[in-house]
Point group: none
Chain length 430, copies 2
């Protein structure tokens, strides 16, 4: 990506921002570091380049080491955690020690602490008072929802530390009210960075990458791919002086990507497949029902996530047991006996059954072998059959997700594939 | 914490493990670093001290810098991300370059890649082949669910790198199947730390914590609580010379916890509510079906996650639309008109309907207001009705999850509550 390459050519040791999260609970794996993600996002919004995140426990030796290292690389160090009143809260003290600076008691913080705690305690304890000690020359970041304030302090030329509490709600409020503004006022927010994410399904990450080598090499905007189960995400990130400029950079790349991949690209930014199916059906004023075997209700449950889904989603039959396929979905017993429950004939009959019973425009059915047992040479684990029926459409297809996949993956891939083909089938009728 | 203090007194520069997560998407704040948390937890379980986590983007200069630094501090470096086929996947190449080592093409990986991709592509593309290049002398960590393998490689005396993909499911499987075992076999796991996790539902974290202040203060074992949507986890962690010693420390605490909380504790370690329902029904040789409205198939889909669930789970009706409740589940129209779709009368009728149609021993039904619209003063968002029916049992109940909850949370809480009451109802018949 572009911001990375700049650094290589600059070879300056003093550039961009780093995030340092402090707390042994992070090293023990007790909590997920959502603060780092949130701060990284905020830095991207401000267009402040951000090159490294570090997590250190409540240990002064190692914390000092990490702060010193950052001060030799970055212009800005943002810390979270370790500002509270207990003995394991050592951030402010260690920052001061790292740059051989004394702490001073700030009467404005003491007054503020007294005000905040007056309903709770008669007077400040020694550990509470600790929160009023900051390095000489610090600017205070007020904490209106908690007790511990943060600081903005430049221990040396060209290097500034901003400290925040580890409690996410306090961090966010302090950042949004004061931290971000300070960075803008002091000209750290120079270029704007904006991103667009496109979502793809029905294509592997490597096949997609092979189609767009020239885009992956670009500098501004940069294009990067990320794979997850059944989906590939492509992020286009542009840097410019304003949002108008970045969107002008992103647009042609987005169009080229869509041209090269066609309908494999199903959505952008936070769109989901189920949301797209919902939008398409709502626009056509049509309804849908499901008949699920190996997914056990997974497609229905995805569609039900959408607020207002009752306008398009009537419900469905979870026909896990063959007797249910016969008795509730009217799949003829002889078809199951002749072709097996995982067959094109059975999914077609399932789709027709639910289509008729639920009086809907669209029906989708799934039956497959999710494993870990039940696979044969002809019908291995990972083989899944699907059918979509509407007044104008009747398609059945099979997918072989591979017998190396877990039961959960096969179920998840089946739900995604069903929703994707549904989207394409509705589009084709439009 | 103990392990931090140890380091201070040792002052050796070569100790413990570090985690290095690679990917610009982490620095852009696109995703939360759940891999670091999961690995940190795994290291704690193995009793391997862990002192630092670092995140670096897809940039070879800075990645090299970070790897070199770690090699001067730690014995073990665990990396995630950057093993895939695209140009921004640079981890293996940069690791080799950092220690001036050449990459070699491994035919065993090539064969494996060919096997995995044979149904999808005719032959390996250049970018796919890249995944078979590893530093000379590496041991391979097989990736059975994805394509990119990891490596275990010691570029210098006393320092070993283990690489894993960034896709969480692949990382976890590779760690559990091979990575952890390698660390144990090579004596990195010295002091044994073992943990037992108990799962609770139907009790809040603070109510639970108020019952066990004396346990939360303990040193060995330590007791800690973690809350997530609808569930509370209590982890008991003991440290000792061997597993016999740690289990002797854990046992009495576990018993006391269960005594203090009774049936609120539903399972231990990796047990899920759906697994427990499955076990109970299998033992009794009984079957179940579902009738779901606001959960849209969520209960069915959870039960279908269990391998072999066909022995107990017959299927169900997703009755999202009222017409389906009437026509497929035989809920009388006048009941819906009189009491509303979210009422005890309707869920009772839904449960009876599916119980009869599916000829099962147990039936469970759900109907509620998941929001964000549709709430009234009498029936607010978050109100959910449930019914369980068996030949001996007929119970209906309501939950008010709170109108401040999201649609997704209300659906998730409804599924958990349904499965929990099912577990308790089956237990009460035993």
């Amino acid at each position: 990506m572009k911001i990375s390459k700049e650094k290589n050519t600059r070879n300056s040791n003093h550039y961009g921002a780093e995030i340092l999260c402090i707390g042994s609970e992070l090293l023990l794996g007790n909590i997920v570091n959502t603060n780092a993600k949130w701060l990284a996002e905020q830095l991207a919004i401000l267009g402040i380049p951000h090159f490294r995140q570090t997590v250190i426990g409540d240990n002064s030796f190692r914390l000092k080491e990490a702060i010193l290292e950052s001060s030799n690389r970055a212009e800005i160090l943002i810390t979270t955690g370790g500002l509270g009143p207990t003995p394991d809260d050592i951030t402010t003290k260690v920052i001061a020690e790292t740059f051989n600076t004394k702490l001073e008691e700030r009467s404005d913080i003491l007054i503020d602490l007294n005000n905040k705690l007056q309903h709770k305690e008669s007077r400040l304890s020694e550990s509470q008072k600790k929160q009023s000690l900051v390095p000489k020359g610090s600017k205070i970041i007020n904490n209106s929802t908690g007790t511990a304030p943060g600081i903005i302090w430049s221990p040396k030329n060209g290097f500034t530390i901003l400290t925040f509490p580890g409690v996410p709600s306090e961090l966010k409020e302090m950042w949004l009210k004061e931290g971000a503004q300070w960075l803008i006022n002091n000209n750290f927010s120079k270029k704007k960075i904006s991103s667009k994410v496109l979502y793809f399904t029905g294509i592997s990450e490597s096949t997609l990458a092979d189609k767009i080598p020239h885009l992956l090499e670009k500098n501004n905007p940069t294009v990067a791919t990320y794979a997850s189960t059944g989906e590939v995400k492509v992020r286009i990130t542009a840097k410019g002086d304003n949002l108008n400029e970045t969107s002008k950079l992103i647009k042609p790349i987005e169009q080229e990507l869509i041209k090269l991949t066609g309908l494999k690209c199903y959505g952008e930014d936070n769109e989901t497949l189920e949301q797209l199916v919902f939008n398409l059906l709502l626009k056509r004023n049509e309804t849908i029902a499901v008949a699920e075997s190996c997914t056990g209700g997974g497609i229905g449950s995805k569609l039900t996530r959408i607020p207002g889904c009752s306008k398009i989603f009537h419900g469905g039959i979870i026909a896990y047991n063959n007797s249910i396929k016969q008795e509730i979905l009217d799949v003829p017993e002889e078809i199951i006996n002749k072709f097996g429950a995982v067959s094109k004939e059975v999914v077609e009959s399932m789709a027709k059954g639910v289509h008729k019973k639920f009086k809907v425009n669209w029906a989708i059915s799934v039956s497959g072998i999710a494993g870990p047992n039940g696979g044969t040479k002809l019908k291995p684990i990972g083989l899944v059959m699907f059918c979509i029926k509407s007044p104008k459409t009747l398609i059945t297809w099979e997918k072989r997700f591979g017998s190396n996949k877990t039961r959960e993956d096969i179920q998840k891939l089946s739900v995604l594939n069903a929703l994707d083909r549904l989207r394409l089938s509705i589009l084709m009728e439009s």
